[in-house]
Symmetry: C2
Subunit: 345 residues, 2 copies
């Protein structure tokens, strides 16, 4: 067993497939409504307002680290923040609503303005969180993947299975390709700004890639993801790609140039490790709903997950999707403690 590592070093090594003392653990959407200290702030401040206030965004990002000692602090922001700065009228009620979606080629010209400016509060929140945490705890920045950004940008309210964008991709593929190209530059600019602000790890969320068949993924979402990743500096922090409901795209996701593929709860972690081999590390993948189970069951599920994770090149323990709103705090604690080996079991 190697000596105990700092969370930052543990996270870096797990992402790159180097030796670690134990898997690092954090939770997607770990700063959120299931925490009373978060809800307390949100009583006073709207969601977008909170994203745009560097002090409060840093504070909210740090809350779950204070409570659970997770191995990474994910900065509080939203993947749509850059789009809101580029002239899209974005609101949350509570799901995202875009009043003026990009419906055709002529609308693309409307996407002007500075991405760097739009996400300046997030970058400032990264700096403040890093100052508060010191060098041992990594701060994770993130961006939406081009396909997922295009999904929100092209529709007022998302249809189930993303019917509108997938239909558009059959009917007007050239337009969808141009839209994705624009979204790829936005995603890359978002990540570059966060690298400059000091982000230690990056994650790209392709929440909606899973609706595509593999050949459609390669032509649209995957192509634009690869463009995004290629536009990052050669020397960059470890990069995670998350896609929801994308077990059928795993081999494709592993070939994009990312260091880690984050899989959802539906894909067996052991099978995934066999399928991707040593090409990437894996992140995930406990069912977020499982955190409502009795604690001994959570510990058993974590134990199974860690066993399967050992088959991967490297494993970052996480959920298969974001923490659900009604998750009990003790369930989150049991999850983190079980990974960190401090469970009272």
């Amino acid at each position: 067993m190697p000596e105990a590592l700092s969370s930052r070093e543990r996270m870096r090594r797990a992402c790159l497939g180097e030796r670690v003392d134990r898997p690092p653990v954090w939770l997607m959407r770990q700063a959120g409504r299931y925490l009373p200290e978060y809800r307390e702030i949100r009583q006073r401040v709207g969601f977008l307002e909170l994203c745009r206030d560097p002090d409060l965004a840093a504070e909210v990002s740090l809350q779950p680290h204070r409570r659970f000692g997770v191995d990474a602090v994910v900065i509080f922001s939203d993947i749509l923040l850059p789009l809101a700065g580029l002239g899209l009228a974005l609101d949350f009620r509570p799901g995202p609503i875009v009043e003026n979606p990009i419906a055709g080629p002529a609308d693309l010209a409307r996407l002007e303005g500075s991405v760097a400016e739009a996400i300046a509060p997030t970058c400032e929140a990264i700096r403040r969180a890093k100052r508060a945490l010191g060098p041992d705890v990594p701060v994770l920045g993130f961006a939406g993947a081009p396909w997922t950004l295009a999904a929100y940008a092209s529709e007022t309210r998302l249809s189930r299975d993303l019917d509108r964008l997938t239909s558009l991709a059959w009917r007007e593929p050239a337009f969808v390709e141009r839209l994705l190209e624009r979204m790829a530059t936005i995603a890359a600019e978002t990540l570059r700004a966060q690298i400059e602000a000091g982000a230690d790890v990056l994650q790209i969320f392709d929440t909606w890639a899973g609706v595509l068949a593999p050949s459609r993924f390669r032509r649209f979402a995957g192509h634009a993801l690869a463009q995004t990743i290629a536009a990052l500096p050669r020397e960059r922090p470890p990069l995670v790609v998350y896609a929801r409901g994308a077990g059928h795209l795993l081999e494709d996701l592993a070939r994009l140039g990312a260091d880690v593929v984050s899989i959802d709860w539906r894909t067996d972690l052991g099978d995934a490790a066999e399928r991707v081999g040593v090409r990437v590390s894996l992140q995930g993948n406990l069912d977020p709903a499982a955190l409502g189970a009795p604690e001994d069951e959570i510990r058993a599920e974590v134990s199974r997950m860690l066993d399967l994770g050992r088959k991967a090149r490297g494993h970052v323990a996480n959920l298969g999707h974001g923490v659900l709103q009604h998750t009990p705090i003790d369930g989150v604690r049991a999850f983190v403690e079980a990974v960190q080996g401090t469970a009272r079991a």
Copy 2:
């Protein structure tokens, strides 16, 4: 090449893996809003009212057969119709809303009343459609799978990824098991009544099974599906099971006792055929959004689908999900003609 078969015999043989002249073809949700003759009727009659009017339901079921000559007529109804007859206050706006969901064990007693009575209009519509069609065209009846029925029954409006029911399954598994058991009897009664009315093929829709990891599927949705199928008569029409987003459950779906597994557009049909072997036939799986593409592209996609389908024990050509509302009629026609080999290409 065997001699030309009737649609009914072609469908039966494809489902059971016997030799056919060509794959039969029909479309899920083939009677619906993309058809002007359907919209014309719906201007006068609400959705539930239409389901409950045997004359109109039969008429609407026959419309796509008249227009496209599909190989099966699926009866117009809704998987929630039996629940609406058992005291659940169901409305469509346009998605289903249940005002008085089954939230806990005490609510189960509320589910009383006769399933046979609730779906009597559907059974009568089956009889009328069969009289109109004669013996050569099969009529397909259907029911919702227990897990999918439980999803709608237990929540006013479905949450994304079915968070509420999946959480409940971790928190109160005994209640969810009882709920599923009740839903399994409802699904089986629905199918038995349709068999008696003369349905030539049956399909069970497990629209929401795909949110479950394989082990959870086996314990909950799959177990209840197997119960449903076991409760059908030994001598029964061919049975199809459809699950959306369930590529990760394919082997499990093939082991339930159904004759056909209907796969969605995300799963490669050739891979699926290898995975299930000769255990079941496959149905599907063109991307419904592809029907908006130029017709030569639709023909190319159909040709690819039919090639892959030849690897299966039997293949029923279909979409990977229901026809989308804004689908062009010419796209549907191109799809059907391409399968039936009458395309002008």
